[in-house]
């Protein structure tokens, strides 16, 4: 009954948002549940993620594109990890620091682009920031808003991600 304030500006934005909901709701629930292992928290995270996304619907060209899928999953992942950290009261979260396990697809493609493969395998925080900044094209400030980080923290995270990537590529003698 109470209205939320100002979020989406266009007719197109409205239908995009509904498409986002229909397309990604279950994937977002799966992802949040995978991190949180708590259904109540999972639903809260997905709702909060949709609220964040309402501010950026007008920036989405195709709701079903891989780029949009990455945006939706990234926002959900970060919202879930942040809640996980708050719940566990951890100052340091292993979820952020673990490198992803290489999949067959990544191993196959790594012959073409070691850099892309290394980016895909980065710990979540670094991957999220790099993809939002350099794939989706969000500004540092926007990345900060989407990931609940200060702009300074976003810049520092990008620098650390570059360092991690350099180390990973050196190990592969690229």
């Amino acid at each position: 009954m109470l209205l939320y304030l100002a979020l989406i500006d266009s007719e197109e934005g409205r239908s995009k948002f509904e498409t986002l909901y229909r397309t990604y709701r279950d994937l977002m629930l799966w992802q949040a549940q995978d991190i949180l292992k708590d259904w109540h928290d999972t639903e809260d995270v997905v709702h909060e993620s949709f609220l964040k996304l309402t501010k950026y619907v007008d920036r989405i060209d195709d709701p079903k594109s891989p780029k949009t899928r990455a945006l939706v999953v990234t926002v959900t992942e970060r919202t879930a990890i942040d809640l996980y950290r708050r719940r566990k009261r951890l100052s340091f979260c292993t979820l952020d620091e673990e490198w992803a396990a290489p999949s067959p697809e990544i191993e196959a493609i790594s012959q073409q682009s070691a850099l892309a493969a290394a980016m895909a395998l980065l710990p979540a925080r670094y991957r999220e920031v790099l993809l939002l900044r350099f794939d989706s094209g969000f500004s540092v400030e926007e990345v900060g808003q989407l990931l609940s980080m200060s702009p300074d923290n976003v810049r520092k995270t990008i620098q650390r991600a570059k360092k991690k990537l350099s180390e990973a590529l050196l190990e592969q003698e690229v």
């Binding site: 009954m1 109470l2 948002f17 279950d26 994937l27 709702h47 949709f50 850099l115 980016m119 993809l131």
Partner: protein
């Protein structure tokens, strides 16, 4: 290799696709059954996105012409203050009535340095099959939701306005029955809309909103029985 922004941008799309390939395919994601609370929240969010452009246009037009605005700076519900003159008047209300919505803006003009603590509440008088399904608490806001297996629910949300602070709400009053009532010996507002009722009142620096799809009389009875425990 120097990792420039341009180099990262050139490889980011492939990195994204590689990362996405590690996620389950759409066909492999289970179809989840979500709670009534989640369904309600998302339905509300979707509804709000659908209706917002018109609302925004209306608000802009209304502000521009100032023709349909009834602005009244009042000491809280001044018309009824004779009944409750002994109560401390803490919050000021500015109510703007538009064509299809009513905006409330509460301001705490107190000069104290510290905010009053948020009280605790004890609820009673609701149907026995209703259970607590949400209890979220911050230093300034408390939300409680009770639901029944049959889909009935009510939500009590209350927040404290700090000195020199303000809080606003926009109430959908289109096609609704909107009226002033007396609740807990205090002036209050009641809005009934499509089977949903909202009760709104203030007590000291605290704004209370009790809403749900229970009959209005039941919600009022629950509101009357709320026991407030000052911290």
């Amino acid at each position: 290799m120097e990792l420039t922004d341009e180099l990262l941008a050139a490889h980011a799309a492939l990195a994204r696709d590689l990362w996405l390939s590690t996620l389950p395919a759409r066909s492999a994601v289970p179809e989840y059954t979500v709670s009534p609370s989640f369904r309600r929240k998302m339905a509300r969010l979707l509804r709000e996105q659908r209706r917002r452009p018109g609302t925004v246009r209306f608000l802009r037009r209304a502000k521009r012409t100032a023709a349909v605005v009834l602005a009244a700076a009042l000491l809280l519900f001044a018309g009824l203050m004779t009944v409750t003159a002994y109560r401390e008047r803490v919050l000021q209300l500015v109510m703007q009535v538009y064509e299809d919505l009513t905006e409330f803006r509460f301001t705490n003009a107190a000069q104290e340095a510290e905010s009053a603590p948020l009280p605790d509440v004890v609820l009673s008088g609701f149907p026995e099959d209703m259970e607590l399904t949400e209890d979220s608490y911050t230093p300034t806001r408390h939300n409680l939701v009770y639901e029944s297996p049959a889909g009935q629910f009510f939500r009590l949300s209350y927040n404290v306005i700090p000195p020199k602070g303000f809080s606003g709400s926009i109430l959908d009053t289109e096609h609704s029955r909107f009226r002033e009532i007396t609740l807990r010996g205090l002036p209050a507002y009641c809005n009934e809309n499509e089977g949903h009722t909202l009760l709104l009142w203030t007590d000291g620096p605290v704004i209370y909103q009790l809403s749900g799809n229970l009959p209005t009389e039941e919600l009022i009875a629950i509101a009357e029985k709320i026991k407030i425990l000052q911290n």
